[in-house]
């Protein structure tokens, strides 16, 4: 009887705790809320039509253009931008660079949410979304296909990141024994996660190996998997700088004094890593360019567009990072991170949408519904991110 009473009171405590945490905090009428709430609501209505009347009712996709911005931006770009999680966990837990320990939690959270929302957006794009479980349950799956590898890796990596983040949830729920147990699993989860990331970041590129006749030769090469992997490293680092800059302004009350002091050193270190990786990526691009003898492709509009991407959004931010690190200029690093992120978006959209079936007269353009749903996915992720950061010990202390 006594045991039942203890369990009941503990259950009541947990329910009250979660109820308190679910209540909104802070001001409601902020510019972000005013913009994001209508878009999320309209997006939900569009998703209703998408699932009831089919994918063709809200998108401009067809048999010739099966990949739109839901795949090109949400999935392919989103996963690249989430690369910071495996880079930072590798740096902190494997290379033992404790300087970056204070940003592990927020980076892993960012990566976890990015995978849940952006990779989860894959469900929206499947004509028969209930078939998404087929590769997992072994029902009519092509075990030698790249998509099989990518789908398993997405699932396993999401679980791995959830495990990496679980000590924070246990700390938030004041479950000390569970926190210690889960924290003990972190290193194994990190090593497993890095392995998965390397494979599926390149695996996403490998998906396009079979589309050789459809992708413009300036963007297609048999080294797409390598390029996707290398670019995901600096994409992740740039995303951490960009996201950290915004978090530092919005969540400054949640940051401990130590984080403020180390912030500059952390950003400079990330900028240094991004500069070196972008330099390597640029030379890989140059090597492929010469190896594939692409000189004759550079003299038309597609060639100029390619140069804009490679010089304007890879080489220029690379030099900006290097200059800013050398001169300890955080402002230039932040601008470089934005340019690098735009470059990644451009590269992934070029491969999946813009330079895809480049020879067609009637090109694919996303419908307004596709754009609204894409924004809805991004805004919803930010809402969840904000909810977690303001409640759990992610940035330093609990509110």
């Amino acid at each position: 009887m006594n045991t039942i009473a203890v369990v009941t009171s503990e259950f009541d405590r947990v329910i009250k705790f979660f109820w308190q945490e679910l209540k909104p905090r802070g001001k409601w009428l902020t510019p972000f809320n005013v913009i994001s709430i209508p878009i999320i609501l309209i997006g939900l209505v569009i998703l209703y039509f998408r699932f009831v009347y089919g994918i063709g009712s809200v998108t401009n996709l067809n048999q010739y253009y099966p990949l739109g911005i839901w795949i090109g931006f949400d999935v392919v770009t989103g996963v690249a931008l989430a690369g910071g999680a495996y880079v930072i966990t590798f740096v902190v837990y494997v290379m033992r660079m404790d300087k970056y320990h204070s940003i592990v939690r927020v980076t892993v959270l960012n990566g976890l949410l990015a995978y849940i929302f952006y990779a989860g957006a894959l469900t929206l794009d499947l004509g028969r979304p209930w078939h998404i479980v087929n590769p997992i349950i072994g029902n009519s799956f092509g075990y030698n296909s790249v998509l099989f590898l990518v789908s398993w890796h997405f699932l396993l990596y999401m679980l791995t990141m959830a495990l990496e983040f679980s000590p924070v949830v246990a700390e938030w729920a004041q479950l000390e024994k569970a926190r210690k147990f889960l924290a003990g699993l972190t290193l194994a989860a990190v090593i497993f996660g890095i392995t998965l990331s390397i494979l599926h970041q390149s695996g996403l590129g490998a998906l396009f190996l079979m589309a050789k006749p459809k992708i413009h030769p300036l963007w297609y090469s048999e080294f797409i998997p390598v390029m996707f992997f290398v670019s995901s490293i600096y994409a992740g680092l740039s995303m951490i700088i960009f996201e950290g800059t915004i978090s530092h302004k919005i969540f400054k009350d949640l940051l401990g004094g130590q984080n403020h002091r180390h912030y500059e050193e952390i950003v400079l270190g990330l900028g240094k890593g991004a500069a070196i990786t972008m330099f390597v990526y640029y030379f890989f691009q140059a090597l492929i360019f010469i190896h594939e003898k692409r000189w004759q492709l550079i003299a038309d509009a597609w060639g100029y567009w390619y140069l804009v991407e490679i010089i304007g959004f890879v080489l220029v931010p690379c030099f900006m990072y290097a200059y800013a690190v050398r001169n300890r200029n955080l402002g230039i690093i932040k601008v470089a991170s934005v340019l690098a992120l735009l470059g990644i978006v451009l590269n992934r959209l070029n491969v999946t949408v813009i330079a895809y079936r480049w020879y067609d007269v009637n090109k694919y353009y996303p419908s307004w519904e596709e754009i609204v749903v894409t924004l809805m996915v991004v805004f919803t992720e930010i809402w969840i991110f904000r909810w977690i950061v303001t409640r759990m010990p992610v940035l330093g202390k609990r509110q």
Binding site: K272, A275, F279, L287, H291, A322, V325, R326, N327, R328
Partner: protein, 48 residues
């Protein structure tokens, strides 16, 4: 009729080798350049 010549760096992989060598040389330069960072005072210290 096309014919192969050993002195044409476009036909051989000469250009690729040159690019790789310049990459390694510039990479060393970049790392040394970036390692020189930190000699200046930090942004916070400058503000003070």
């Amino acid at each position: 009729m096309e014919f192969y010549t050993y002195v044409n760096i476009f036909e051989t992989k000469g250009l690729e080798y040159l690019l790789l060598m310049s990459f390694f040389a510039l990479f060393i330069f970049l790392v040394r350049y970036l390692s020189g960072a930190g000699k200046k005072t930090s942004v916070h210290e400058e503000k003070r």
